[in-house]
């Protein structure tokens, strides 16, 4: 079976200008060679921190951006050459408050988008009501969107994306800013989409979300894919190893570098937690780094020191922070 979505060495550069009088133009490479394939019925995750290039990648796939280099295909057709054909078969849902007509009711919003996305007039009414029920908004569809909460808007977005029953869905951070209960409902809806046979590309920076929902994940950092595989594969890649967490109250960069230099250490990251910082040192199983680490931290105020097994989150942090 041919893949439903193909990204082939995608590149995208942005030109921005700075300054008012002496305009300088800067080139930012947001996506630097991203390739992956999504099979039919798969729920594929693009996981990465903000600014990694996930949204840019999605926008190239949904025909909103032309790649600076590389190719993308959806259902076998090129997204640049056959944009119109592709648009009829994809759904796009993104997180946040925008993207709806505030002054119109939810029903009117759906009617309008149904028309724009080419849903047959005879089927529009039934389809809209079916979707309102699916996302749990029936009974509130006559209210104006300006009164909707973030969670409700997200659900309306999903309904909108499904209006023309597209076989492929692109979800860009759909649960961002939604309260935990609402987010959980949204996630079960997304799982339901896969169960209905749709192919889904999901971007997110929530690891547990990718872990819970996706069949396969690609970890993106600084415009490149740094790891790809099933959640289990990714966890396995770090299952060996040990993580030492040391609470510190201020640490200099040289000390952090010194820690990185310890043989066997695979990554060192410094996180802010409450009043202090935590230095997270990952090392392979051969090493027992605690002594070496504490020795290098001589002179730094220390708090608690804990040793534990790595989690998927550690794998993720290690992947996205390495140079």
């Amino acid at each position: 079976m041919p893949p439903v979505v193909e990204a082939i060495d995608l590149h995208r550069t942005y030109k921005t200008t700075t300054g008012t009088f002496r305009r300088r133009s800067l080139e930012v490479e947001a996506v630097r060679g991203v390739s992956f394939e999504i099979a039919e019925g798969e729920l594929f995750g693009l996981l990465g921190p903000n600014g990694a290039g996930k949204t840019t990648t999605i926008k190239m796939l949904i025909t909103l951006l032309i790649p600076t280099a590389g190719q993308a295909r959806v259902l076998g057709r090129d997204v640049v050459e056959d944009a119109h054909w592709v648009r009829e078969r994809i759904g796009y849902v993104f997180g946040g408050d925008r993207g709806l007509y505030e002054r119109l009711s939810a029903l009117d919003n759906l009617r309008y988008f149904a028309e724009l996305y080419g849903v047959e007039p005879k089927q529009q009414r039934a389809r809209i009501h079916e979707l309102l029920e699916l996302v749990g908004l029936e009974g509130r569809e006559k209210e104006r969107v300006e009164g909707y909460s973030r969670g409700m808007r997200q659900r309306l977005h999903i309904a909108r994306g499904l209006l023309h029953d597209p076989p492929v869905l692109f979800l860009d951070e759909p649960t961002i800013g939604v309260d935990p209960v609402g987010a959980r409902e949204l996630r079960s809806m997304i799982a339901g989409l896969k169960a209905a046979g749709k192919t889904v590309l999901l971007t997110t920076h929530y690891m547990f979300e990718a872990d819970a929902l996706c069949d396969r994940i690609a970890v993106v950092a600084k415009g490149k894919i740094v790891a790809e595989g099933t959640p289990r594969d990714l966890k396995a890649s770090v299952a060996e190893g040990v993580v030492v967490e040391i609470e510190v109250y201020g640490i200099e960069e040289e000390k952090v570098e010194a820690l990185r230099a310890i043989p066997g250490v695979t990554s060192v990251a410094v996180e802010d937690r409450d009043q202090a910082q935590v230095v997270v040192v990952q090392a392979d199983t051969e090493t027992e780094p605690t002594h070496a680490v504490l020795a290098r931290l001589d002179g730094v105020s220390l708090g608690r020191v804990t040793t534990r097994e790595p989690t998927l989150e550690d794998a993720y942090v290690a992947l996205v922070t390495q140079e």
Binding site: T63, L64, Y92, G96, D97, G99, Y101, R103, E115, L116
Partner: protein, 262 residues
């Protein structure tokens, strides 16, 4: 008519209706849209009254009525794309299979339709505050001339909206054209008063012909039909030019990644 044409017409109509709903909802904006041409009309009425020729008052009343339609269209047209961008809906609409020019066109014709309120208010104001009685010599021609003028103004608005799409300050350019079209369209001033080189500019503007048509139909001073025909022809011209420009603007936006930038 092919199935596709029917489909496009329906989509355009639904778009027009939805946009009309959205535009009609702000009571304050509506108030301003109606009051604004009244201020200028009032001044014009005083001036023409002092001038002593009652026929000019009738012309002024009709002129002020159409001024409202132009204002209702030109000012939002400049900022149409920008507002869509801020709203986050620009991308969704561009990513849809419906041609973007159709979506934009239904937006600008909806704003010019709101101009009907302005027209009515201005004519009523002229009648009750200044005693200006506007005749209806040729009601059939009038019934055709008014919607034709409104639609062709909406189509000119569409062309403006895309022509100014590149500029982040497009709203100022749209607003800047408010007075010039009032002037050069011959709404309150006969075109014969202007230097010759202004004439061709007036002729390229559908509002000029629409204004003529409405005047002729109301006062019976001439036949409105040739003017109506010119209006339709220009409207078609604006649409063609607008569609071409839209496609180029969108292609450039996709290459330069300017669709979502605020």
């Amino acid at each position: 008519m092919s199935a596709r044409a029917i489909r496009l017409a329906r989509t355009g109509a639904v778009g027009w209706w939805m946009n009309l709903k959205m535009v009609s909802q702000s009571a304050f904006d509506g108030l301003l849209a109606i009051l604004w041409p009244l201020f200028f009309g009032t001044v014009a009425f005083f001036m023409f009254r002092a001038g002593g020729d009652p026929e000019t008052l009738v012309y002024a009343s009709l002129g002020a009525a159409v001024m409202g339609v132009w204002t209702a269209t030109s000012v939002p047209a400049g900022s149409a794309l920008q507002r869509h961008r801020w709203n986050g809906t620009l991308e969704l609409v561009v990513a849809a299979p419906t041609p973007f020019s159709l979506t934009l066109l239904s937006l600008t014709t909806a704003t010019s339709t709101v101009g009907i309120y302005c027209m009515t208010a201005t004519l009523l104001w002229g009648r009750f505050a200044f005693g200006i009685d506007v005749p209806f010599e040729d009601p059939v021609a009038l019934a055709v001339a008014i919607p034709t003028t409104i639609v062709s103004i909406g189509l000119l608005g569409f062309l403006l909206a895309v022509a100014f799409a590149r500029y982040r300050t497009a709203w100022t350019l749209g607003a800047m054209l408010e007075y010039p079209v009032w002037l050069v369209g011959g709404f309150l001033v006969p075109l014969s008063l202007f230097p010759d080189w202004v004439r061709p500019i007036s002729w390229l503007l559908a509002p000029t012909w629409g204004m003529n048509a409405i005047r002729d139909a109301a006062t019976g001073a001439g036949s409105a039909w040739p003017d109506i025909a010119m209006c339709v022809a220009l409207g078609a011209g604006y649409t063609t030019a607008g569609v071409l420009v839209t496609n180029r603007v969108l292609a450039a936006a996709r290459r330069r990644a300017t669709l979502s930038l605020t």
